[in-house]
Every structure is written in structure tokens, then in C-alpha cells.
């Protein structure tokens, strides 16, 4: 399962995309977030952490198969 990172999350993981292989399926958005926070404790200090699936914000209960475009969205600050 490939995951894209932006902004501060890219700095935290040290790259714009990482591959996560050892996940217990089925994995939902909440599970992915928990997995990332376990691996990168810095994630828990962020104001918010959202996940986008195929370019749309996804709720915690959305199931991920690994075929989607998955992206981690830290607090946005455009404008």
C-alpha cells in the first residue's frame, strides 16, 4: 500500500511517498492513521490529520484495499 505525504508529514517521514506492506487487512482509514502514529509519534502532535482516498477526504471507516491513491493531509494552510 503506497501512501503520499505532504507538508509537515513529508518532513516527518522523510519522503513524499512510502510503501507500507505489513498491514493487517482489512485496514480502514482509522487503522492507517493509528499505524502511522505508532511509527511516527510526531504525527500525534499535529493539529489534525486527515486522509484522502482518490483525491477526496475520507472518513475513518472507509476501507482501504491498497489500489487507491492514498494521501496524508496535515492541517492545510493555503491562502
Amino acid at each position: 500500500m503506497n501512501v503520499l505525504f505532504f507538508g509537515i508529514t513529508k518532513d516527518i517521514v522523510g519522503g513524499s511517498e512510502i510503501s507500507i506492506s505489513d498491514v493487517a487487512k482489512p485496514l480502514n482509514v482509522a487503522g492507517l492513521k493509528k499505524r502511522l502514529i505508532d511509527s511516527y509519534p510526531e504525527f500525534s502532535k499535529l493539529n489534525s490529520l486527515a486522509v484522502a482516498v482518490n483525491n477526496e477526504y475520507a472518513d475513518d471507516n472507509v476501507i482501504l484495499t491498497g489500489n487507491e491513491e492514498i494521501a496524508i493531509i496535515p492541517p492545510v494552510s493555503g491562502g
Binding site: 505532504f6 507538508g7 494521501a71 496535515p74 492545510v76 494552510s77 493555503g78 491562502g79
Partner: protein, 138 residues
Amino acid sequence: MKKVIEIVNVIDTTKVYAELSDPNSGGICVFIGAVREFTNNEEVTALEFETYKTMALKEMEKIADSALKKWSLNKVIMRHAVGEKGVEEPVVVVGASSAHRDACFEACRFLIDTLKETVPIWKKEKFKNKTVWVSAHP
């Protein structure tokens, strides 16, 4: 074209009026966001903008569509810049045109407020001795 949605390297503020002008529009309201020299009394040397472009364009489309649904607008524009921007450089421009001024003012405010809430664009403030991802931490 009714909607202009773009992420660009450099914003040209001179063409915005022509883009929003329309024979049925008596009012055009434009908001431009630019880089300020100071944030909390600390001197900013530059801002750097990064985006998740495909999703950002999709979110901007949604915002423009919901403005077109809420108000009677003739044209809507949402354009954000990416890359490094120095003091006074424009980083975002949003605007709307409508028959009367209520609609374009309200829509323009909605466009920028919602863009700041939902569009995946991130801003890093560069100071002399540090850089900070804006809004990342409490």
C-alpha cells in the same frame, strides 16, 4: 468560461478584472492574498507553498460549484500560487462577478474562507533562523 480554477507558479493580478468581466455583471469583487513582511513581529523572508495538486484542483472546483449554487454569479475565479513567494507577492486570488454587489461580495468571502479550510495547500514560513509549517501544531 464561467469558472477559472488554477494552480500556477506566478499570479498575474493585471488580468483578473478582464477574466471576471461580463455583460450581465454590475459588480465584481476580488480578494488577493499576499505575503506579509511580519508574522507576530518576526520578519518573514519568504513563504513556500506546496500542494497536492490533483486534489487541490478538485476541492477548488467543489468550492466554486457551491458558490455558483448559493449565489447568482456570472463568473468565478480561484487561482493559487505554489513555490517560494517573497514579501508583497500575491499567493492567491479569488473573485466573483454578479448582477448586484451583495452576491459577489458574499461569494468572494466564501471562496477564500473555504479555500483556507479545505484545499490541500501548505505554507511554510521562512524566517531568518527557522522555518515553520503554518497551522501544523497547536
